[in-house]
Symmetry: C2
Amino acid sequence: MLKTIEWRDDQVVMIDQRKLPMQERYVICKDYRSVIRSIKDLVIRGAPAIGVAAAMGVALGALKIRAARMDRFRARFDAICREMVAARPTAANLAWAVERMKKVADEISHREPGEVKLRLVKEAQAILEEDIAINKAMGRQGQRLLKDGNRVLTHCNAGALATGGYGTALGVVRAAVEAGKQIEVVADETRPFLQGARLTAWEMKESRIPVTVITDNSAGYLMQRGKVDAVVVGADRIAANGDVANKIGTYMVAILARTHKIPFYVAAPMSTIDASIKTGKEIPIEQRHEKEVTHHQGRRCVPEGVGIENPAFDVTPHRYVSAIITEKGVITPPFKAKIRRLFASE
Amino acid sequence: MLKTIEWRDDQVVMIDQRKLPMQERYVICKDYRSVIRSIKDLVIRGAPAIGVAAAMGVALGALKIRAARMDRFRARFDAICREMVAARPTAANLAWAVERMKKVADEISHREPGEVKLRLVKEAQAILEEDIAINKAMGRQGQRLLKDGNRVLTHCNAGALATGGYGTALGVVRAAVEAGKQIEVVADETRPFLQGARLTAWEMKESRIPVTVITDNSAGYLMQRGKVDAVVVGADRIAANGDVANKIGTYMVAILARTHKIPFYVAAPMSTIDASIKTGKEIPIEQRHEKEVTHHQGRRCVPEGVGIENPAFDVTPHRYVSAIITEKGVITPPFKAKIRRLFASE
């Protein structure tokens, strides 16, 4: 399995997810601004992966700060952190990772910048390692929800490529397969960026897990025919009440699942839960460039001069969610008190 | 407005809907087999337009039959009709139009082949003219369901390009606009063939009706935000109980509309209603080539060796349909007896 993101020789190396699976190319970021650009341009995507990239990005930024005195270092570092947090608005993990990096800087604020820099680089690498471990824990927790022979529909890519490795939703699938269950994946292609058709299909194929790609609008057809046993998706941000922001179309899948009495599971690390917001209504939804919709392979398909709406995410109200799978356990509705308890046990 | 299909100098001329809106090209069919190929390859699509093409196709086939005796002419003509009906399995209008052409041949079976040929050519042209008139009648009937200021979501293209002209679902929109109402259209892009993004957007732009294109998976997002007031779609076949086969994804839109308490209207001519089948379960659903899903602008995006499911249509159970708009009136549930009555009044 290729690595999603790596810290190598004081550079951040990412596989270019815009090119996969037809081309395997890497983007090498030598400064924090190119990490920001890579996040904005979807070289790397997926909430946990964005978190890792942000942490590595601010570490990279910190490394390059020329300041002998800690107060000047810190002022510059905080500015870098602010820029990083603004890269994309929806994923909770971005702010979470940057916050964690700032806490490290806070804790050793009495030391020299040189030492703080090394600590920040270590912390970013630790976030990557932890993320993989968290995904595996989530997989162990979540795989019990899947039965041998299940056909599992997923939307977007919540796999190894969306995380440090292993995956959230696809981590649950991987763990079920590792536990000896036969699982088939149905991947919504996930317009406009085709994370499902390109990335989920590729990951599953690499892992020899059977996968079938469908257009997003075919999910209802398959469910109506009894060809989907469970839905597992990732999340970009989860509110304190269990409302889930995830890739555009997730809400539609949740409604379809409910209509067909199919369980709808969300797999996400604790870092995706934003306890500071009460409901999904407060989650900012990124609107992306219309070219993502109007152009295919660089060629325009939609006539010029018509309106385009291109929200990158939607919010699934908690009442559609059968369970949230975290590394600390699986919780079922009602979510609010249970989410609070998960945080209390941290 | 460009013409969808035309009979010109004993040839059938179609605008190539695979190329629109970026290129305006025409396919000239000189024999019935090239009409069949054009139907299969989606040069022309949309149930009523396929009906017109099929009628013109068998007329073209008839013209070229070299037979002095009527029995030999008829044997060849029936073989052409069988081939034509098999071009695509789901749209009711294909079989309906061929049946009507055969009836003409039946009625004057005592005449010479030469005369029968001319009658068939006239009949095919009459089917085209009638289709436009039917669409306009449907528009007059249906437009009353739309209110001034409505945002109307539609899936696929049920417009002038899907018919002889004017359109079924988009005909209803056109008629509402002609009645002085301000209507905005939201067009699902409609993967994989992008009839919404390419054809509906183009038609609406040409007619100066405001249109916004969204990915299919954004429909729920817009409905959740109160940005859709009504859904109007076309149909490829309607069963005797009101179940509706239409472009893949229509079922999903119907469920979303129901969840958000938005009316879901189906506009279709009587020729789309197949009274010979009891429910939608009996409607054959065409599976199309996986390349439609795996390739974008001729370039592969999905890794090789993964499964693809590419149904061209789905069936929306009648319980999700708020009203069926036909040229003979608008009917509301329960549909079965009302559909029977519409046919009885023919």
